[in-house]
Symmetry: C2
Subunit: 168 residues, 2 copies
Amino acid sequence: MELAEAKSKFIEAWGKLGSEWGINRTMAQVHALLLTSPVAMTTEEIMEALSISRGNANMTLRDLIGWGLIEKQHKAGERKEYFFAEKDTWTIARQVAQERKKRELDPILKVLNELSSVKGDEKDPEYKTFKTSITSINKLAGNVNKTLETMLKAEENWFWGSIFKIFK
Amino acid sequence: MELAEAKSKFIEAWGKLGSEWGINRTMAQVHALLLTSPVAMTTEEIMEALSISRGNANMTLRDLIGWGLIEKQHKAGERKEYFFAEKDTWTIARQVAQERKKRELDPILKVLNELSSVKGDEKDPEYKTFKTSITSINKLAGNVNKTLETMLKAEENWFWGSIFKIFK
DNA sequence: TTAAACTTTCAAAACTTATTGAAAGTTTTT
DNA sequence: AAAAACTTTCAATAAGTTTTGAAAGTTTAA
C-alpha cells in the first residue's frame, strides 16, 4: 500500500470512529490529517486536502483547539495561521476524556444524585425498583468518574503500568 | 420530587446521554423505562408510556435484545410478549462495552494493524510522522482492547476492587 | 378455515445535525 | 486611508438519522 493511500484510509477510519462515538466526522478527520502531517498546515491546505468548505474548516479548527487537540502556530513574516496536532497519544486520550467528562458525565452525575434522594414508600414496588436502579447506576457512574479523574492526573507509564500489572 | 417526575427525568437524562454517545435516544429511553419498571411491559404499554409509534417500539425492542440489555418474557395463557431489563448495572456496562468493542474497536484495530505495516523511506518526514502516529495509536488501541477483554471476563467485585485499590 | 390477536416491515415524512459560501469582520501592508 | 490578506459568522441548504403508520406477515383460537 502506498503512503498516500494509507493516510487517506486512516483519515477515513478515524472519521468513522469519531462519528460512531458522537464526535463530528469532519473534526475527527481534520485531527487525523494533522496527526499524520509532519508540518503545520494552513486552513487553505486543510480545505484542499479534505475537500471541505472554508466555513466548515474554520469551525472545525476552532473546535479542535477547544478540545485541546490542536494548536495554532505563527510563522515569522507570514499572516496565515498554521495548525498542528498534539502528537502524544496518551495526551490525546486524556484531553478527549476530560472534555467528554465535563460535557456529559458531570451533568448526568448531578441528575443521578438528585434522583437518588427522592423519598417514597419502601413497600411500593415502583419506588423500590426505581430506587434500586438509580442507586446502582449512581454507584457505577461514581466509579467511572473516580477512574477518569485519576486517569486525568495520571502519567502515562504509571497509569498503564499499574493497570496491566493487575490485568496481566 | 414525585416518583413519576423522577422517573421521567431519569428517562430523559438517560436518553440524552445515549444520544451523546452514539446510541439511539429512544433505545436508551426504553431501556431506562424498563430498568425502573418493577414488572415486565408489553409493546403497547411502552408505546403509551413514551408516546412512540408501534414500528419504533418494535425496532427498538429488537435492538435492545440484540445488545443483550432486555429480554422477552412469556406469560402463561397470554399471547402478548412482555419485556424486562437486566437490572444488574455491572452486567449492563459489560454488555454495552462488548457490543461496542465488537462493532467499533475491532474494525479500527484491523485497519490500524494493516496501516502499521506500510513500508516507506525512513528519511521521508511524511512517512516517519505517519508511522510514528499510527504506531502509537495502535499501541493505545491495543491497550484499550486488552483492558476491555479483561473487563468483559471480570467479576464485578474483583474488577472494581482491584482498580480502586490502586486508584484510591 | 376464518377470524382475531399480535408482530414485523419499510417507504415516506419529520427531525436533527453538518456543511456551504457569500458577506461581514479584522488585521496588516502600502 | 485604502487595499490586500486573511478569519469569522450565519442563514440557507444538504445530508444523515430517526420515527411514523399503514400494510403485510404470523401465530393462535374458535
